[in-house]
């Protein structure tokens, strides 16, 4: 905890111009390309985007689990006043699990099949604190109770394969929060779970977030769940952030054509049932051959509105459209809003 000043607190996490590239035999994979965003303490930022847009790599960069020998990483990641990209491996290691924690998409494979769940949790405790085995076990038990594992006295000595998918994800959450981290990154925490369990897990994360005052980054490719959980949304495409806005703004006043495409492809409450879900035509760009101009240009319906084919040649910057609304698109803001409102009117059957 830093000193409590009455002035505006700096964001807990601030990522500046982060790039991660993997040299491979086929060429340089630019998984993350100049990403910047920040998250205020206690808030939830959702990062959405199609498969391969660089969400997980961004998360792994913040966790410091990108293999530095295999990747070129530049930019800055500020967590609670500390810069992580330049931090030596040993110091990063001591932050992992204590300051930043992460839960993953597949709770089946994310827990070690050979060790009891209780032991996996106490291992996380003793990685950061010297504490007796008895006390660690009691703490693990308490945490398992809090994440809603029934019959904890028995379950704590179960192996992961003896638990259901939802229970395993609860164990992962317990393990992530056991050292009271400031930041929790949830990388598609519900994708691998049954629909009925998904909502429970999201509710659990939200309630624990309030209880422990954690800041959350929720990664998903499902815009549908974002509305319920996130304060802000960052839309990623081709390794870049293309739009950032408060959740309500993103839903009701989106500007970037890719965001419009995403919104058209998911069900929403105010959606006119007669309009079809419309997937974005085409495929995401290869991270090895990113388009030189706007990464979305090859799939963008509105690229020809920009004079001189600038969409194909000039990379648009992520610029302010409103104080907390950033958009990466060559079309002027006014015009973008008109387009967006047109699209939304069709989506909601004129109700919007």
């Amino acid at each position: 905890m830093t000193g409590s000043s009455m002035a505006v607190e700096p964001p807990l996490l601030s990522v500046k111009n982060l790039s991660v590239a993997f040299p491979t035999e086929d060429g340089l994979v630019r998984a993350v390309d100049g990403v910047s965003f920040s998250v205020e303490k206690g808030k939830t930022l959702a990062i959405v985007g199609e498969s391969g847009s660089g969400k997980s790599v961004t998360a792994q960069a913040i966790m410091g689990i990108i293999d530095r020998k295999a990747a070129k990483m530049t930019g800055e990641i500020w967590l609670d006043g500390q810069e992580l990209v330049g931090l030596p491996a040993g110091e990063l290691q001591s932050l992992r699990g204590s300051q930043v924690a992460m839960i993953f998409q597949d709770p089946m494979s994310s827990l070690h099949p050979f060790y009891r769940v209780g032991d996996q949790i106490t291992e996380a405790i003793s990685a950061h604190r010297s504490i007796g085995a008895k006390a660690a076990r009691a703490e693990a038990m308490e945490m398992l109770r809090r994440v809603g594992i029934p019959a904890v006295e028995r379950r704590i000595d179960d192996y992961p394969h003896q638990l259901s998918g939802g229970m395993r994800q609860r164990v992962m959450i317990a393990m992530a929060l056991i050292n009271k981290p400031a930041l929790l990154i949830a990388d598609e925490p519900t994708t691998a779970l049954d629909v009925t369990v998904q909502a429970q897990i999201l509710d659990l994360i939200a309630s624990l977030q309030g209880e422990f005052q954690i800041t959350v980054i929720m990664i998903t490719h499902d815009l549908g769940i974002v509305a319920d959980v996130a304060d802000d949304v960052a839309v990623m495409y081709g390794g870049r952030i293309v739009e950032v806005a408060p959740t309500g703004t993103l839903y009701h006043e989106p500007e970037m054509p890719y965001t419009l495409g995403l919104l058209s492809s998911v069900p929403r409450m105010d959606r006119d049932v007669s309009t079809r879900l419309e997937p974005i035509p085409g495929n995401p760009p290869s991270p090895i051959r990113l388009p030189p101009g706007c990464v979305f240009a090859p799939r963008c319906k509105y690229a020809d509105r920009v004079p001189d084919g600038a969409c194909m040649t000039t990379r648009p910057e992520l610029l302010q459209a409103a104080p907390d609304h950033l958009v990466r698109c060559h079309i002027p803001s006014e015009e973008r809003r008109e387009i967006a409102q047109g699209v939304l009117r069709v989506l909601t059957g004129g109700a919007a």
């Binding site: 966790m63 491996a89 994310s110 827990l111 099949p113 192996y159 393990m175």
Partner: protein, 330 residues
Amino acid sequence: MVAYTVRRLILMVALLFALTAAVFFLFTLLPGDPARLTCAKACSPAIIEANRHRLGYDQPVLVQYGQFLGGIFFGRTFSSDSPQPIVCNAPCLGYSYTRHQQVLTLILNAAPVTFWLAVGAFLVWISISIVLGIFAALNHGHWPDRLVMGISLVGYSMPSFFIGLILIFFVVLRWNWLPFPSYVSPFDNPLRFLQTMILPWIVLAFLNTAFYMRLTRNQVLETFHEDYVRTARAKGLPERTVVVKHALRAGLTPLVTAAGMDLAALLGGAVITESIFSLPGIGSLAVNSVLQSDLPLITGITLFSSTLIIFANLVVDLLYAFLDPRVTIA
């Protein structure tokens, strides 16, 4: 676990019964007259007939099999109506007339040689492969990895008798670094024992090392990409713990099965290596029994080796279930 083991043991006994029957009938029904082989070339038909009766080869096959089985459980007596009957106590695997010794005695005399050969080679190959395999995996794509993979490829393509002959030729005959191999018990003369065994160990370990090095490397590399290894890292565990406790523990466990079975197969006799280095083990015994058409001996050795393999199967399964909690045995 206990119930499972008992069930497996019962199954094992049943399997061995079936095996004795198969081995016995296979070798008994083979063309050739075992009675003929009991005496030298100049043998009168009368003597042959007498021997046939003495050995029981004039009985129906089923009766012979019954006697064989009875011998295993209760012992039996050969040439009971002759002045010098041969008493063979249970478990009696038969009597070798070419060597005038009980089959079990012959096997038990040869077994220690094979035991030391197999265990020594096993230790050599397992330790080298695991160390080099892990080393290669940790340096994936760099020169240590390439070197290990290269050695593995070369080792893979060299037949063991070739390596054995080359080693004998240079190390023993040319350079006289080691005396000519001649087996002694490690308890009688440890130095001589080592001098004799070092080359056979190397030869026998060679091929397996090539295989296990590659297996270890691939296993370990695979587990490095497992989600639970990423989780271990995300917990903030030291890299050593991540590698040893999380990656290697999972990556090396499957080796237990393969290594256990390979060791058992070796304990049943290493035919080529034993022959090259004139080691009087099970492998040499087997070769000679075949060359001499010594039917009781062939049957006995086959049973002995198969029992080892079946037993190893059980041990390996139990061990694996112990190491990997996902494997439920019930």
